[in-house]
Amino acid sequence: MSLEQDRWTGVGLDRQVQAASSNPVILDGQALALWRGEDGPVRVWEDRCPHRGMRLSFGFVRGDTLRCIYHGWAYRTDGQCVEIPAHPDLAPPKTICANSYPAESRYGIVWTNLSGAGSAALPDFGADEGWEPVRSIYVDRPASVVREALHSFDFGDVSEVRMNGGSAALVRVRSGLEILFAVQPVSDGKTALHAVAKGQGVAGRRADLARRLERLRATIERA
């Protein structure tokens, strides 16, 4: 049984998770591996090989399996271990399974829910189309401070800041631009923001917006 809240949290930008890659993420102090096969969606697993506890974010992808860097044990997308290189003739028992969490991609953000219950709804800010990734940015401040800053930072002529629980914020600028932030508490003192944007000509403004977020980070950390 998990003590985690039944809540979806953004943990990365979908487009930034390369094909055939495994990546370390810390959510609320829990180590996760975000990985993608040679194609297909991003998976979110506990960052721990069931064999010897090695971090699976150090692993490598072959086809649609994630392999542990330590002894090469291969895990299928459902977590099931399908190959143990030291015992090539052995069919791995069903009990050898990596611990996986629900993962959904919406608005270009990869969301996960550590409670495993998965009854909470994904943050809903309308249709999934039209969102362009901006960037992920890591701020050395607690999530409460970062959320507060989203209300006061100068993104231009802000008309509305709408929170969705504590895990997402939508900033509307009068020019028609919308910036969606997924708020990921990393640890007590660190927070990640995963930002995507929507609006006319937004694809050509990604670099400007990314630099704006550098200023946001500096503003929060200097306060």
């Binding site: 890659s21 990546n23 993420v25 392999r67 890591y138 990393v186 990640a192």
Partner: protein, 209 residues
């Protein structure tokens, strides 16, 4: 013509030089220096090769060089006929040198943290890690903007000695207690680098990509 590298296999700075020698397919002689625990880089004999008592050092056709960054510049200047590893055109040369200097400067805090954790060097580990994170953030911000431009490398559309100079101590930073969790663009850049033809790993840098 003989190239001789004074080398230590666990040194990220020596690894920079080995990477370029390998990318350029140059034959060279390696002399292993007992950096730890022998401290051979501080021996009287080695101080005559490099009075700073640091590795790597390189001898090439009578020329004696120290400093990994200077050695990268020399090798690319002399042996890379394509000019791609050290572009000379005005749009790229200065930017490449800027990041090469960054690799030999700010990024070396990650090396210091690794020397503390792996070899027991006495230094302020919290300060070293904080400086390394500050440097990683600067490179990650840069590589984030590069990703947005659709580019893969630190400068230009081909890997340069800036990528080679920056790669080892970013890749090896876990040995100094500095994780890659906060740097998605650096992770992608490192993976692209490890997928280069003729890339080779060292202890602490995964061979499998």
């Amino acid at each position: 013509m003989t190239i001789k590298l004074y080398d230590y296999s666990l040194s990220g700075s020596c690894y920079k030089v080995r990477l370029l020698l390998h990318f350029l397919d140059l034959h060279y002689e390696k002399q292993q220096i007992d950096f730890y625990p022998g401290r051979q880089h501080k021996s009287l004999d080695f101080l005559q090769i490099n009075p700073l008592g640091q590795i790597p050092a390189l001898e090439d056709d009578g020329l004696q060089l120290r400093d990994a960054q200077a050695i990268l510049c020399h090798l690319a200047n002399k042996y890379d006929g394509s000019g791609r590893w050290l572009p000379r055109d005005e749009r790229h040369f200065g930017a490449v040198m800027m990041w090469v200097m960054f690799a030999g400067g700010e990024l070396m805090s990650a090396s210091a943290a690794r020397l503390h954790d792996a070899l027991g060097y006495k230094l302020d580990i919290n300060a070293a890690r904080a400086s390394a994170h500050a440097a990683f953030r600067i490179l990650d911000d840069h590589m984030t903007l590069r990703e947005i431009e659709g580019a893969k490398w630190i400068v230009g559309d081909h890997p340069t000695i800036a990528d080679i100079a920056c790669f080892p101590y970013v890749a090896l930073s876990g040995d100094g207690g500095i994780g890659h969790e906060d740097y998605p663009a650096l992770r992608n850049w490192m993976r692209n680098f490890r997928r280069l033809p003729r890339f080779h790993a060292m202890s602490g840098v995964p061979e499998y990509v």
